[in-house]
Point group: C2
Chain length 203, copies 2
DNA sequence: TGAAAAAGACCGAACGGTCATATTGCGCGC
DNA sequence: GCGCGCAATATGACCGTTCGGTCTTTTTCA
């Protein structure tokens, strides 16, 4: 039987549930109910709930990876345009597909109290996420599109953190305003020249 | 008995515990154990765990409020210096006091699945948090220290979101690097002039 | 004397996880 | 091509623990 094992069904439904409710909040029972399988099946495929968590991070990030490769790696466009296209894409993804939220930010928020295996996985994934963004920024800096001011890696860390913060707030505001704000500020101007300008007054 | 009711002890220890482990993760039993009181006492003071959550948000934000009033409202200093002083202060607070994390970001992250009373409270608190920051930014814009580009409120939303995102990542990285990155980028230059510059190449 | 608080035993439900059993598809000797 | 055996999966009853919350009784203080 098993039109290819029910594992994929558990992963798919579990992904949605964790996305909506958080990892701790989504019980194993809830997940297997959503997948339409008895609870026992869960432990045929996953050693523990934590192992399941690590696996859905892989699945989820696998999908992000293809989006990143497509949009951030497109050498035919200038780096900043690629960055904007990428964030447009994950914005659209958050709007249409996931109901709602970002798996990574959701799990990061619960990192305290979570198993080390999950924390380590998240650290790795965050690095993998940041790298191509930092590469785009570095390329823009080399082209002179961007000030060399904060180095590319620092800037990439900041941007990803800001995105996650916006994602977190969507859970409270229940709309996409935080993501729109992110887009507007990051790609339309920002606090930045702040310090330098205030240091040298209009004379 | 009761050197002024054990409520304050429950609130104090509960605050620390929620800060460290998250709201859902910190059980009522854990909290009363930490406070050294029997579990029954908890429900003499709080109608439910959610009501307790709303109350510790008030207590926590009350402390933030005084810090905000002191540093952001100090009319003797230029607005951008006040902003930087404020973020320096909450950085130091995160480093030294809280062990570790930010109550607001922690609870926002769990907003899905949380009671509406808590979500509403968080929305209110976020607005109250943002307002004086937006006021500082607006003042800086009026003085000409800052481009009028993204309006003050939008900028304030972004900065607060970015701070929360950094706070969230400290839970994964287990160090203060995300907060340092936030400081460096926000107060040292940023992506901002990005779009405008890339649109008009060096000719 | 009465209301508030302290106290701890207690509750049903849900949690993550286990286990014994039934079922299935598949490789392999024939 | 066929039957057999076996490992992987399917299944649901079951386990101990912990969850948020209740109840009753005792203590305290105004």
């Amino acid at each position: 039987m098993a039109r290819l094992s029910k594992k994929s069904e558990i992963v798919e439904q579990g992904l949605q549930l964790v996305l909506q409710q958080g990892f701790a909040q989504a019980g194993v029972q809830d997940i297997t109910d959503a997948a339409g399988v008895p609870k026992g099946s869960f432990y045929n495929h996953f050693a523990s709930k934590d192992a399941f968590g690590a696996e859905i991070v892989d699945v989820y990030f696998g999908r992000m990876r293809t989006m990143m490769a497509d949009l951030l790696g497109d050498a035919t466009r200038p780096p900043l345009a690629r960055l904007e296209a990428y964030f447009d894409a994950i914005f659209a993804y958050a709007r249409d597909k996931s109901g709602q939220g970002c798996m990574i930010s959701t799990l990061c928020a619960e990192a305290n109290g979570a198993a080390d295996v999950l924390r380590d996985k998240l650290n790795g994934v965050l690095g993998e996420w940041r790298a191509p963004i930092a590469a785009c920024i570095a390329e823009a800096q080399k082209r002179g599109d961007l000030a060399p001011a904060p180095d590319a890696d620092t800037l990439a860390r900041f941007v990803v953190d800001a995105w996650q913060g916006a994602m977190i707030r969507t859970k409270v505001s229940r709309d996409l305003e935080p993501l729109e704000t992110f887009q507007r500020v990051v790609f339309g101007g920002v606090l930045v020249p702040l310090k330098r300008r205030s240091v040298r007054p209009p004379t």
